[in-house]
Each structure stands twice: as structure tokens, then as C-alpha cells.
């Protein structure tokens, strides 16, 4: 059956997580799903990753928070969110009723708090937990370490281990780009018990207003996203997949099916569409549609394409 073949050709898995297709949304770019429902049927996606949820509501960073950059944008939102209680009460019911995978992104200031949050999210409707270990727009002083989790293997391992111990859901560790050895961070997450990695978060950057002689963003620096950062993400995924057996979800600068194919061929088992949704709210849908057409034309499948470029590469990139 043609239709059966087509849906099978899109299917993929990220560790224990079965996805009907490899297109998810990136945290912080799709709200809690409901905001996007007027643009397209969001349940058609492989999964929805929520805006990062923290234990308590966060007001977010001072303004200005965003700046346009060549082929991208800088943001310093600061994890503004409704907090765990608000999420469970007001946001999860909508997501839980959707016939797609729901991944809840969480961030905490200590490993223990990551565990608490993951434990609280062992509820109906939550299919997986993504640990945001790499947001560049918050301070990391609360836990006493003053270092981003994803900048230190031991902190990454501890946060993942705490979440792992508290939850039976698949745990995805989201890493950032500004590290000397991404494989060392990936290995730390694996030791902590992660089921998968998500690579990458935004790239730290700054824009200066030369007339005012100060940074455009109130907080100074922010996270760069958009097409400008895609080659950075593709390389990181390529390196990780060459070094580790853990499945990787690729994210960074994906706005077309062609972009998604680069990540899949680098070794990603699934992809997330992020900033492109700000430019075109149907972006994730369009990427999925484009992938579907590509697979049909090529008579191929997502499973067959994963890591296709790896097999040809001799070096580690």
C-alpha cells in the first residue's frame, strides 16, 4: 500500500521514543503547541517540544531581548515561562490530548532540582523529558557552580543522573555548541543515563549598537539562531554520531527539508525546527512535507538516510 509505505518511510526512533516522522519543534519556538494550532495541524509532527519549564514561573530577562543578525537572530529571553504548576494546570491538558509525542523541556539550577522536576512530570501526556543544560541566557549561580551544566561533563552527568533516577520517561540531554569537545559532554550524558542527546542550543553572540556604544540586548549577549548557525550544528551532530552510539536529535538553523536532510545524513535520528517558525509559522509543517516528497522521489526512508554521510566520511570532520 502506497500510503502505508509512505508513513513507514518517515518513521524513526530516538532511543526508546518511537516517532511517526522525524520532525519535532525546538524548545522556545513553538510555545506549548496551542499557540500554533491555528496555522496547521500540529499533531501531524513527529513531536512537540515545549517551551522550557522551570520549577517556579520566571519573568524573563530585561528588554530589549532580541536583535536581527545576518541570516539569523540573537535572543536573550531568559526562560520566561509559566512554571511547573502553571504548565501542568494550563498547558499540558491541550498537549496531552494531541496524537503526537510530547517532550517537556525542563531547566533547573541544581542537579537535584532537575530530578524533582523530572519526577513531577511523570504524568499522563508527558512522553519524554528534554533537559535544557545549555541555555546561554540565564545565570548559573544558584546551584553554587557558576557554570553552565553543559560546559562541564561532571555537571552534565549529575543533572542527567538525577533526572534518570526520578523518571521512567526517555531523557534527552540538550547540549550547547561552545565546548571544546562535544563528545566528552555526550559521553557524560550517556554515563548519567541519557537515552538521547539534542544538539545544539543557540550559539552565544553579541550585537553592538554603534550609535549608542553599547550592546543591543539589555543583558549584553544572547543566543544566535537561524540559518547562520546551521553548519555549526551539522558538524557537531556529525562529530557526536561518529564518536557515540547514543541517538542524536539535530537542531540549529533548519528551515527547509534540505536542511533537515543534512542533519539526518550527519547521523541525527530526528530534527527540530526552531527559529524558522518565527519567520513562517508553518515552517515545521513545510519541512515535514518537503521530506515526505523527497523520500517519495528517492524511494528512500528516514531510517536509510540516518548517518548516510558518515559512511562516506573518513575523518571525524
Amino acid at each position: 500500500m502506497v500510503s502505508g509505505d509512505r508513513s513507514d518511510s518517515l518513521a524513526t526512533s530516538v532511543g526508546p521514543l518511537r516517532l511517526r516522522n522525524p520532525v519535532l519543534t525546538a524548545s522556545g519556538t513553538f510555545g506549548y503547541g496551542q499557540e500554533m494550532a491555528s496555522f496547521f495541524d500540529v499533531a501531524k509532527l513527529g513531536g512537540i517540544v515545549t517551551k522550557t519549564v522551570t520549577m517556579r514561573p520566571r519573568p524573563g530577562n530585561p528588554t530589549p531581548r532580541i536583535a536581527e543578525t545576518p541570516a539569523g537572530m540573537l535572543n536573550s529571553i531568559g526562560l520566561q515561562n509559566v512554571g511547573l504548576d502553571g504548565f501542568l494546570r494550563d498547558k499540558l491538558p491541550y498537549l496531552a490530548a494531541l496524537d503526537t509525542v510530547v517532550v517537556v523541556s525542563i531547566m533547573a539550577s541544581t542537579a537535584e532540582e532537575f530530578g524533582e522536576l523530572a519526577g513531577e512530570l511523570r504524568v499522563e501526556g508527558v512522553d519524554a523529558i528534554e533537559l535544557n543544560l545549555s541555555c546561554p541566557n540565564v545565570s548559573y549561580g544558584d546551584g553554587g557552580q557558576h557554570v553552565m551544566f553543559a560546559h562541564a561533563p561532571e555537571l552534565t552527568e549529575a543533572a542527567v543522573a538525577a533526572a534518570r533516577a526520578a523518571s521512567d520517561r526517555p531523557i534527552v540531554a540538550k547540549l550547547g555548541p561552545d565546548v571544546p569537545d562535544i563528545a566528552a559532554l555526550g559521553a557524560a550524558a550517556q554515563r548519567g543515563g541519557a537515552d538521547a542527546l539534542c544538539v545544539m542550543n543557540t550559539v552565544p553572540g553579541m550585537v553592538i549598537d554603534t550609535a549608542a556604544k553599547r550592546p543591543v540586548l539589555a543583558r549584553g549577549s544572547g543566543g544566535l539562531s537561524g540559518p547562520a548557525v546551521r553548519p555549526i550544528g551539522v558538524r557537531l551532530v556529525y562529530q557526536l554520531c561518529a564518536a557515540l552510539s547514543l541517538p542524536v536529535v539535530g537542531v540549529g538553523g533548519i528551515s527547509t527539508a534540505e536542511d533537515a536532510l543534512q542533519y539526518l545524513m550527519a547521523g541525527a535520528h530526528a530534527v527540530q525546527v526552531g527559529t524558522a517558525s518565527f519567520v513562517r509559522p508553518t515552517a515545521a509543517h513545510d519541512v515535514l512535507h518537503g521530506l515526505q516528497e523527497y523520500l517519495q522521489d528517492e524511494g528512500s526512508s528516514v531510517e536509510a538516510l540516518i548517518g548516510a554521510a558518515q559512511r562516506k566520511g573518513e575523518s571525524n570532520g
Binding site: 519556538t29 510555545g31 499557540e35 524573563g60 530585561p62 529571553i77
Partner: protein, 276 residues
Amino acid sequence: MSARLQECTVAANREVAPGHALVTLESGIGAAAEPGQFVQVSLDGVAGAFLPRPFSFHRAADDQFQLLLRSVGPGTAAIVATRPGERLTVLGPLGRGFELQRAIASGGSLTLVGGGVGVPPLHHVADFVRAGGAGSEVTGAKIDALVGAATAELLLAVDDLRAIDVDVRVSTDDGSAGHHGLVTELLHDELGAAGGADGRGRRPGCVLACGPHPMLRAVAKICRHSDVPCQVAMEEPMACGYGVCLGCAIPAAAAPDRYLLLCKDGPVFDAEQVAW
């Protein structure tokens, strides 16, 4: 009313002031638009631009709408340069507009205060009220407009406003037309006169304003002192336009660490909601 993403054909594009274009787009997006609401115009493929650009409606009808914009960078330049027959991808209508029922009900007359390229949403207000959009009982409401610009040739929509029975006073920074100074001085004068001993005896039911942030801050202050309700249409760097990116936040008056989203809670706010 949920927003739609639509490819629209440019029906007309006319230069109305140096660097300013009045662009007419064929689309049903404007059919349900309220004054103060806005659209996001996609700039996919325009070199030097990435994010869409938000614009208030200048006029909106069932089958077409107009944007009046100024070329300030590669993105706006590309839109200003469009020709009839070309297509633009537009998302809208977005945001919350002016609360006109409340504005008119509270006193019977409106005073519009527009600075520079902030005039379009106020023109939309006047056009909408005169067309009966705010209710037939207020179609003939008294509307004053105070329009300011750097120079006479940059005063926008003055003739259009007068043509729909709006009483317009103008100011220019260089004195080339009307009051030599700021448009907020005209407002101060108007509200001062209304409230003073020699008052002309008419006090606007509400002030509706749009323009640069310092101008809006001054308008809000003048209105507070004169105890006149004031609604402001604001602008901030914006990415998505529909409440997901959380980029276009502005501090709320309620608490120093509370933010309002310009694209969803606004772009029109009661002046008392905003931490100026």
C-alpha cells in the same frame, strides 16, 4: 479572530513622502482587522533581512488593505520598492487594537496624536469610525488629530484625515509647517486649554497615540496630569508576532519584573499599563 498566512498581490504602490510608500495589497486579511492591529510582512529571500517586519494597518477593507511605511533598512526598502503585481507573504491580523468603544463612550470625542510614521494606525482609527466600524451611533464623533514630523514634506496622511472630517493640527521640528516644535506641545496646549480658566470647554474622551517611544512617554504623562484616558500603539523589535518567541516584551507598570508582550497583549496598551 485568528491570523492567516497569505500571499497577497500588490495592487498599488505610491510614494506619499520622501522614502515613504503607501502600499495597497489585495487580501481578505483586513476584513476583520481592528484599528491598531498589525500584520507581519515576510522578507524571505531579501538580502540583509531575516525576520518579518510588523506594520499597523493604514486602512483595511474586505478585499484589500493598505500599509504606509518608511524605508529605514534593507527589509523596509524591499517593501517600499515593490511594484503592482508582485506578491508579498503576509500574516495577520495580529495583536490587540484600540478599544474604541471604551474610548468614545468615555467622552464622545477622540484626539489622535501621531509622530512620524506612527500616523497609520491613527488614520485607520478615523477611517474605521467614519465607516461605521465602531457603531453607527459614533460615526460622526468629533475627531481631532495632532500630527508631527521632522519637516513639512514628512507630515503623513494630513489631507486624508481632513477629507474624512478630522480636525488636524500639525507640528514640525524645523517649523516648515504648523507649530515649530514637538507634537506633544500641541497636545499639552490642547489639554491645558481645555482644562484652564479660559478653556475651550471641550475635553477629549480619550487620547490615542502612536509614534516614537519618547513621544509616547510624554503623551502618557500629559494625559495623566490632565486626567484624560490614553491608549498608545507601541513598537519593539519583534520576531514571531504571535506570542511564541517572547522577544517583544515591555516592562509592565504592575511590577518591575512583569512583562507585557507587545504582539499579543498589545501593540495597543492603556498608557497606565506600561512602565514608562
